[in-house]
């Protein structure tokens, strides 16, 4: 018996799926979005890095960086009727960042100066942190557009869940910080630092780092100066959205030790940050049988012997014994997760047989998430 998702998501307009990489977060996010759309809502799911075939299954246009409508006919064959609308997009971090700069730049010259800056190109590229920031920036933009009843965000596969919660604050802290003020100051320290090369601290900095980098930084910060207010406003908006009553965080994990520890940690951080926690989903849980009897492996070997021969019966018994051990390991992990997160009824999704990166897989995961009868 697991906790039903539909009632937990009742009245929510933003659902953020958080957790370690490799636990099936993207699949769960897509299945949740599909389930809500089936209930009649207009839903958009923002995915970060879907498996190619999941993207194909949803008909995701990778180049768009905007949600595109998923054809409901894709699900018809698997018995899912979409009464609402399901939209899906894959986040392009670099492009989202560029678009943000474009929308905040006061003029074309500032925009080009920033977009062409070496430091900016580094920052907006693969460097850790920008994906987290752009994910919430996109979330905020779509929320403000008012086009959707519910937004489901699949968070970046960062190893440390904190990266995601802190991203807006970290980036705006950086834009508003002393470094920026320092670089923007027309006179005073900055001018001294590389104008005349005085001051031990900045002289050393220059010697160690090389002048060009400092100049790049200085141009970057100067150009960004005009965008500070826009960034601050945006960051405040994002922070409000994350704390809003309409927002909920779902923590997704597998029963394995490392993701489970991460989930416990993230649950605690949510509590400390005063963010709304909507529930725990334990995905890819090993199970044996369909709730029927699970005999001892020795009994199995004896039962199957006459039919399969002793050798094959022993093989089956051994494989079954190992499956039982895995199931026990997972059960112990779930018990521990219950204890340590305070979530009494986590939603359990078993390790599904076969491919989950297609429509049939989504529908199978959806059944476990939305069907209270499991």
């Amino acid at each position: 018996m697991s906790g039903a998702l539909p009632e937990r998501l009742e009245g929510r307009s933003v659902v953020i799926c958080a957790g370690s990489g490799g636990v099936g977060k993207t699949t769960c996010s897509a299945a949740i979005a599909m389930g809500l759309a089936a209930e009649g809502k207009r839903v958009a799911v923002i995915t970060i890095d879907p498996a190619r075939r999941l993207a194909d299954a949803l008909g995701l246009d990778e180049l768009g960086n905007e949600p595109s409508l998923v054809d409901p006919a894709r699900f018809a064959g698997d018995g899912i009727e979409i009464d609402g609308e399901l939209w899906a997009m894959t986040l392009d971090a670099k492009r989202t960042f560029d678009e943000l700069i474009e929308s905040l730049s006061p003029d074309a010259r500032t925009r080009d100066e920033i977009l062409g800056n070496r430091i900016y190109q580094q920052l907006s590229g693969a460097v850790a942190g920008s994906q987290e920031f752009t994910a919430v920036a996109k979330l905020y933009e779509l929320d403000r557009s008012g086009r959707f009843d519910v937004l489901v965000l699949d968070t970046p596969p960062s190893r440390n869940a904190l990266d995601f919660l802190d991203a807006p604050e970290r980036l705006t802290g950086f834009f508003e910080g002393r470094a920026l003020k320092f670089f923007l100051a027309p006179t005073g320290l900055a001018a001294k630092a590389w104008g005349r090369g005085t001051g031990a601290v900045f002289g050393v900095m220059k010697r160690i780092t090389g002048v060009d980098l400092l100049e790049d930084l200085s141009v970057f910060f100067r150009a960004l100066g005009g965008l500070i207010d826009g960034f601050r406003e945006r960051a405040e908006g994002v922070a409000r959205l994350l704390e809003d009553d309409g927002t909920t965080f779902l923590v997704i994990t597998s029963p394995e030790r490392e993701p489970a520890e991460e989930a416990v940690f993230f649950r605690r951080k949510l509590r400390e940050a005063g963010m709304p926690f909507g529930g725990l989903i334990v995905n890819r849980v090993h199970t044996v049988g369909d709730g029927g009897p699970t005999p001892e492996p020795e009994t199995v070997a004896a039962d199957l012997g006459p039919e399969l021969g002793p050798e094959l019966a022993a093989k089956v018994a051994r494989a079954y014994g190992e499956a039982l051990a895995l199931a026990e390991r997972d059960e112990a992990s779930i018990a521990r997760l219950r204890r340590e997160t305070g979530e009494r009824h986590p939603v359990i999704v078993p390790e599904l047989d076969g491919d989950v990166h297609d429509v049939a897989g989504l529908v199978a995961v959806h059944r476990w998430l939305f069907d209270d009868a499991q």
């Binding site: 370690s20 990489g21 490799g22 190619r52 075939r53 430091i119 590229g125 693969a126 460097v127 850790a128 960062s158 190893r159 950086f174 910080g177 002393r178 470094a179 320092f182 320290l189 031990a200 601290v201 050393v204 900095m205 220059k206 010697r207 160690i208 780092t209 090389g210 002048v211 060009d212 980098l213 930084l217 394995e256 490392e258 044996v288 049988g289 009897p293 005999p295 492996p297 009994t299 199995v300 039962d303 199957l304 039919e307 399969l308 094959l312 093989k315 089956v316 051994r318 494989a319 079954y320 190992e322 499956a323 039982l324 051990a325 390991r329 992990s333 047989d353 076969g354 491919d355 990166h357």
Partner: protein, 312 residues
């Protein structure tokens, strides 16, 4: 696979970087490689970068390791946890004529922002600390302390960014001390005789895709080959195809036959993914078995290390 593959020859390098998709067993692979190298008589140090100490725990260290403190955990097997802040402290103390000047810089209000705000700076400091380990020599004898440094690196995207940081800085700074040092580090990272990049993966679609992308990224962005892939948590196949058909027809104990058939189907799927990986990368691919235990300790590591012999 019992014979060493001369094309890999990890023991002959100075640095082995282990990366891969998050959750694919990077730390386990790095720790098992370190155990295997130490067993072969190599002075090896395992460097972890994200302060979680996963590899240290698997090696039997109870407490989270102090950053930047090198400890010998077992004969010839050393460990250090690298943290960019203390790396910066060490770096400045080394570079500047006086400790007082380093302290002035570190305690200045602007400098920490400067470091935090400079994209790639933390990555550069981290890889710089790794480079130091490869160069570290005994004060007494002047010989190198470590024959081999094994880096438990961040996950693929961030890992690549870290390997690229020195060349980015070298280009951006052009002159000055950092440019020179970044150049030296970059020389180490781009020399396949000195550095090997090993990917940890799992026999599933996404990790396999990411490993193939990593091999391409290494080649295109760093002109480096991927030295080897270690596929972790591979399930053994209990049944042949013919046996599985017989088991499927068996009447008794459906829970047991169902479980055995599920393991068989999963093993077949995993086999397919490993085949796809082998076809796409040019380096050796070795596999490690799934261990049905939540905690991997020194005993399990020793077993896994044995399987990695072929890469040494």
């Amino acid at each position: 696979m019992a014979v060493s593959d001369p094309k890999v020859g990890l023991l002959g390098r100075e640095l082995v970087v282990v990366t891969g998709k998050g959750g694919c067993g990077k730390s386990t692979v790095a720790a098992a490689l370190a155990v295997a190298a130490a067993a072969r008589g190599t002075e090896v140090i395992l460097a972890e970068v994200d302060a979680r100490g996963d590899a240290a725990r698997e090696l039997g260290v109870a407490r989270r390791p102090e950053p930047s403190v090198e400890t010998e955990l077992a004969p010839r097997l050393h460990h250090v946890s690298i943290d960019p802040d203390s790396a910066l402290r060490h770096y400045l103390a080394d570079q500047l004529p006086s400790r007082a000047l380093a302290e002035t810089l570190l305690s200045s209000r602007v400098f920490p922002y400067f470091v935090a705000a400079t994209p790639g700076m933390r990555e550069l400091l981290t890889i710089g600390a790794v480079w130091d380990l490869t160069q570290e020599s005994s004060r007494r004898t002047g010989e190198r302390l470590y024959d081999l440094v094994i880096l438990d690196a961040p996950a693929t995207g961030h890992g690549l960014a870290m390997l690229e940081a020195p060349s980015t800085f070298e280009r951006a700074a052009q002159a000055g001390r950092i440019a020179g040092q970044a150049g030296q580090i970059d020389d180490l990272l781009r020399d396949p005789r000195r550095t090997a990049v090993v990917a940890a993966a799992r026999p599933e679609e996404l990790p396999v895709n990411e490993t193939i992308d990593l091999a391409e990224g290494l080649r295109d962005r760093l002109s480096m080959p991927l030295a080897a892939v270690v596929v972790d948590r591979v399930h053994g196949d209990p049944l042949t195809e013919a046996e599985s058909e017989r088991v499927a027809r068996a009447g008794a104990d459906p829970a047991a036959t169902g479980a055995a058939l599920a393991v068989h189907r999963r093993a077949v799927a995993e086999h397919g993914e490993i085949g796809r990986l082998r076809a796409a990368v040019e380096c050796p691919v070795v596999t490690l078995p799934e261990i049905a235990r939540s905690d991997i300790g020194p005993g399990e590591l020793g077993e896994l290390a044995g399987r990695l012999e072929a890469l040494l």
